[in-house]
Every structure is written in C-alpha cells, then in structure tokens.
Point group: C2
Chain length 417, copies 2
C-alpha cells in the first residue's frame, strides 16, 4: 500500500531534525497558545492554558462529542450549564450530511450549531477506516466486523468509500480533509492519518504509519493553503503497539510544525498496554505542545492518563451510556450506576445535588427510572447532562489535584475496584 | 349496559334542580377559584383567573400534555422558559407505569416530575375506551380500529381492560379513578365518564351518557372520601352529536357541585358540527365555572372556541407534530411549516426570534433541518419547545384580543386559508 522508499524519506531517524528551528508557534498559530502553568513533580501531569480564537480553556480538559454537529440530546446551553469548555464534531459525518459546503455557507460550525466556545474536528479518517476493520471496541471484544462494502480501498492517494447516506463513492485524503475542516471552521483540527487496527501485522502497521507521516506532510501543505489564523493543526502519532514504530511516529510529529500532538491508533488490548504505549510516546512527543488522547475517556482513563502528560480527552461515552440508563457516579463500581435497576424504582434521592444543576439536583432517581421504563426521551436529556457535568467536575478536580499534588487521593475518591 | 331506569333518575329534567343552592364553590373548593374578569360583548369569549393551590393562571389557557409525567422531550424548566402556565398528566398511563402508589410515595405528581405549577389529570377513561373503538382521529379518518383484546368489557361497575405493560387485567371506575387521581395529586381532576365514539348509535350514546352521569355522581361521592382541599373536580359533558342529549348532560353537570365543566365525547366529523355542539352545550353549561375542552387544540380551534366560552384547552399536538418536523407558525398555511422540506436546507433564519427563547431565536432552520435529517434528538427538543412557546404566545394574544375586542383581527394574523 505504502511505498517504503517514500516512507523512509518521511521518517526522521534519531533526534536530528526534531524541533525544527524555523518553526515558531506564535507566528504560525497567532490566535492560539499553550502555556503549561503547573507541572507535577512526581509524574508528567501538568496544568495548562490552551488558547483558541473562541476562548482559553484550562487543561487537562475533556472534549465532548457533537458527532453530527450536536451533542446528543443536549443543547449548547445545556452543555454550558454543565460547565463544558470544549466540544468536537466529526468531519466524516458532516461531509456526508449536511456537507461541509452547507456548514460553511451557514457561517461555519460554531454559528451553525450555536456553540461559541472552542471546538475541534477530527480528520474523518478514523470513521472511514473503522469501516474496514471495525472499531477498537469491536476488536477488543473479538467482534469480527469487516464492512468492505463501505470501505472500497486505501491507496497512497487516499481512502475511497461509499456514503452511508446515498451510496455515492467518496474520497478522503489529506487535501480533502484539510479543505473540509477549513470549511467546517473548528479551532483545532487534525491531520489525515490511517488508524490501524489491533489485528493487523507489524509490517502493515509500519507501512501504514509511514503513509500517515507522508499524509501528515501533505496535511501541513494543504493546511497552509487555507491558513488564515483561525485554525491550528494537530499531528497524530501512530505505530500501534510497537515501541520502535511509536518512537518514529512521535519523533516525526514533534519534528513538524504541528500545533498539537494527538495520540492515535490502536492502543492494545489492556490498560497496561495502553499506558505502556503512552509512556513510550511521551519520551518523544514534543513537550511544549498540547497532547490530545483520541477517543479515550473513561474516568479511570482520565485520572491515570493525566500522569502521562495527556492534556485533552474525547470520548462518546458520557452521552452514549446515558442513553442506556447509566449515570456516571463518583466512587461507584465501574464508575456508574444503572438507573434501569429496580433498586432505583422508589429512590427519592437525586443523582448528585453537589453538581448544582437541575438534572442532577431536582429529579429523583425514581423519576428518572420511570422515564427510562416509560421510554420518555427526557431521560436521555437528564442523564446526558448529568454525565457531562460529572466529567467536567472530575476535570476541575483533576486540575486542582495536579496543582496540589493530590492526584493519588483524588483517584481513591473517584475510583473503586 | 346502563339500566335506563337508573339513568332517568340521574338526569334532571328541565332547569329545575340546576345550580344546587346548597353548593358554595368557595366552601367546597377553598384553595380554588374562577373569576371572570372580562367578557366579550360580541361572543361568549371571556378572560378569567383560575386559582389553584399551585398558582393562579389567566384564561383562556392551554394545558400541555405530560402524558407519562413528562412533556415529551421537555423539562419543566424548558416548559417554564416557553412561558407555560399549566400541564396535565394521564391517569391511565400512570396507573400502569409507574403506578399511582409509587407517585404518591414520591410526594405526588408535582414533586415527582418537578413541576410546581398548576396541573390537571384526566380520569383515565378516555384511553381505556379508545381501546374499544379507536380514537376520534381514527374515526374521522375512517380507520377501523377495534382493540377488543385490550378493552375487555364495560359494565355499570366500570371498565375492565388488559395492561399494555404486563397483560394483567385492570379495572377503572369512578371510585378507582378518584383514588388514583387523589394519589397522583394534580390540582384539577376529572370525573370518570365513558367517552363515546362517532360511529355508535344515538341509543348507545344516550345510555352511555346516562351511565356517565351516574358515574359523575359516584365520582363526586368518591371525591369526598379523599377531599382535603388540594383538588377540584370537573364534570364532563357527554351526549355525542345529539342536541337533546348534550342538553341533558350539560344540565346534569351544571346541577352538580363540580368545580369545572369539561366538554367531552365525540364532537362530530367537521368543524361546523363541533362548534354547533359547543354552542348547544354552552346554553346549559354553568356560566360561572371554568370550561375545559378535552383533547382539542389546533390554533384555529383555540381562536374559534374561545368565542364559545372555552377557558382551557389540551392537546398533544404541539409536541407530537414537533417530533415529525412540524413547527407551528403564525400565519403559515395549516398553522405550521415542515422543517423536513428541502427549502429549509440552507435557510439561515431562525424559527421566530420574536419569541425570544433560544430554540426559536438562536438556531437556523437549516440547522434544525439538518438535525432532523441526521436523526439528532436535539431537533425534538428545539421544535417541541418552540411549539409550546408559540401556543403560549397565542394564548397571551387571545386574552389581550378578548380584552380589546380584536379577536377578529387576531384570527386574520394567525390563520390563513
């Protein structure tokens, strides 16, 4: 798939060529900035300020998924009420419907969806490649999903696939992704990469990573074409579960004038493997750039990963589990309670009055249980907002804990075995 | 079904016995009141103040349906934001799930669903009898629905039916309905009646009406058992499309110590027939009591019916059509626009900025069109709240128009042919 000669030329060897001296982030990304304001002496954990044209957020922070330009069941007002700082939307879904041109015509994503805070879009690649080999979750759970009918082919040029909307053949590559993300207009955008699966060989992973590096350079070139100071580009570290590949990929991203670094690709089948991979990469990632952890965001992931220097997270989990009746809960087994459980049928207590928002304070668990049983959609709204508020509370407490060197205590309060 | 001898004894003849002199509403319903503050000189239209233990509302007003203790897709906060004064819940749905005992244990409906304003419950009868002969809408549209499997039998004792939840045989009669409504704890409650269908004969309608009158007396007796000043009971006028029967039923309700009068039963197959029936009844309904129009609530129904002296309306229409992409709109053909129509694909205008709430002011029609196309549930929330806000605006304008004698002008502004 990838020509290895091209791949080698794109992969810097050793540390030479790292931290390109011609790159000045203040000049390249003038509306953006990342200031690390506190470092934990005992780990890589850090508190920072991530500046965008739509506001500055404190990190570590959590980017909530508004996949199709809407965080499911929640309005921007409800997101703000839950103290949300930043959200994302998915380029893949939006290119299919309503189309990036339409979003641009309507004034860009911020105006279209009425969110005036910082936003991120991904490249669209992840969803396209998920068609080919299923999701990471599918792999971990041993589900063998192979939607070859949707993903037609991957070449050096790009990925060809069928629209789930109308069956038309579409193509996504670095140039297309940069143009789409430019039209969508989020603050933080992502290079195009291939996200490899757990089940592929090391050889495939290496070649794919090398192609992702070439796609990174093409993304940077295409980014420049539209660059007007309103967007900042992240590079993505690939390399699967292989230390040597992760090193090459991390060094590549650090060597290029990306604003931020995103940790991508498959991260293994266990938490230990995932944190091992994070650890390898952080030896080579650029220390001064914000590090985003793509698609990872359980409470335990957050509390552990910040120690590896992760600055931002994203995951559909908070709103997805809400639709299945699961409310995130500090100190609960598996981080959550199942409101469908009959134990809540006559429970007069609210979800968590300390959150001080109506959804967590004013409705009894009995009422929410009833709403789920009666299939009343207000249940989704209540529990989704609660879960977002829980995550945002966690992030505030994580930042305080890093400042006060109490992460270990925080972990005990939030997580039980 | 009904013994005619009993029926005759329950039906007062002529006007003798009307307006029982022993009945003093201020004594019987001390927490309640209905003061007519303005009367239109040219019609029966009137403005009033309806006082309940949970607040006083101005009439004419619209009671929004929170069928299963939730107005679909909208929180009480969103209902208040849309300037809602009063909502209802359905006894039939709540007796099945979660059960009236559970609601009572949780502190009653107001506390359970976190609505602190005035509330109404119906008797449960309408849904039970709908099982037997389908809904009015079914009839008007010629659909022949006959769920005899659910409605088992109707006798003088009550209605026996199968729970859609678990298949158990349940019974609803005046005594059960009063007990259920007492446990639910709404402010305004309804006598148990049989709601007859359009397709039944005059003989059946007469016998059913006579039974409803006997059930009215049983409801009054059962109401007394639980009466503690927190609830006020409405009688229901039946009699189908027959003037002589409507007269008997209206006189019956007026002669009994009901707090309010509800217009029930089938109202014919055309608007003309419906208003003719209203006109008959209003000659005999108690002039000092609030008049509720059960299940009727298109914009044109509201604007026309207030001239017949209707004080309150209820209908699922505002939130139901919202889920099908229909936004109520002043002066639009058929009172609404269809947001699924491709003409809205790139329409940057909001639904109605004059409503001054986020859902009507801050989202473009293009965005809402996209949300429906993408099956994003936020669409339901936005359009449902918009529709509620439109209705509440209409009701405010109706009250002003009655005060200023400008109903005719209001009709021209809101309705087009």
């Amino acid at each position: 798939m990838a020509k290895s000669s091209t791949a080698k030329s794109a992969a810097p060897k050793g540390t030479s060529g790292l931290f390109d001296s011609n790159y000045n982030p203040d000049l390249k990304y003038p509306g953006f900035g990342f200031d690390i304001t506190h470092k934990d002496p005992n780990s890589r954990a850090r508190v920072g300020k991530l500046k965008t044209p739509h506001g500055t957020i404190e990190t570590p922070n959590y980017i909530f998924c508004g996949t199709k330009a809407s965080v499911k069941n929640l309005s921007p007002i409800q997101m703000k009420e839950a103290q949300t700082d930043i959200i994302l939307a998915n380029t893949y879904h939006l290119m299919i419907q309503p189309g990036a041109d339409l979003v641009q015509k309507m004034g860009g994503l911020h105006k279209f969806m009425n969110w005036n805070g910082p936003m991120l879009t991904d490249s669209g690649g992840f969803q396209v490649f998920s068609m080919g080999h299923g999701t990471c979750a599918d792999e971990i759970k041993g589900r063998n999903i192979n939607n070859k009918e949707s993903l037609l082919k991957i070449t050096e040029e790009g990925a060809f696939f069928k629209s789930y909307h109308d069956g038309k053949t579409l193509m996504l590559n670095p140039e297309v992704s940069m143009e789409l993300q430019h039209k969508l207009g989020a603050d933080l955008i992502m290079q195009m990469d291939e996200c490899t699966a757990y089940q592929v060989t090391k050889d495939y992973t290496a070649k794919s990573m090398e192609m992702s590096m070439r796609w990174g350079d093409r993304s940077l070139t295409a980014f420049e074409k539209h660059h007007n100071g309103t967007q900042a580009l992240y590079g993505i570290v690939q390399g699967g579960v292989y230390e040597d590949l992760r090193k090459i990929s991390a060094e590549y991203v650090a060597s290029r004038p990306f604003f931020g670094t995103a940790m991508g690709g498959c991260l293994g089948g266990s938490d230990e493997e995932m944190y091992g991979i994070l650890d390898w990469c952080q030896n080579y990632n650029h220390p001064d750039r914000p590090i985003h952890f793509l698609g990872i965001g359980r409470l335990k992931d957050v509390i552990t990963s910040v120690r590896y220097g992760i600055d931002t997270f994203d995951c559909v989990m908070p709103t997805r589990i809400a639709r299945h009746g699961m409310a995130l809960m500090k100190g609960a087994p598996n981080e959550r309670i199942n409101l469908l459980n009959k134990r809540y049928k006559d429970d007069p207590e609210p979800l968590d009055p300390s959150l001080d928002i109506p959804c967590s304070r004013d409705y009894s668990k009995a009422y929410i249980h009833h709403l789920f049983k009666a299939k009343e959609m207000l249940a989704y709204q209540i529990v989704s907002q609660h879960n977002v508020a829980v995550i945002n509370k966690l992030m505030r407490e994580v930042r305080e804990a890093i400042k006060n060197d109490t992460l270990h205590q925080l972990e005990k309060e939030w997580l039980v075995d």
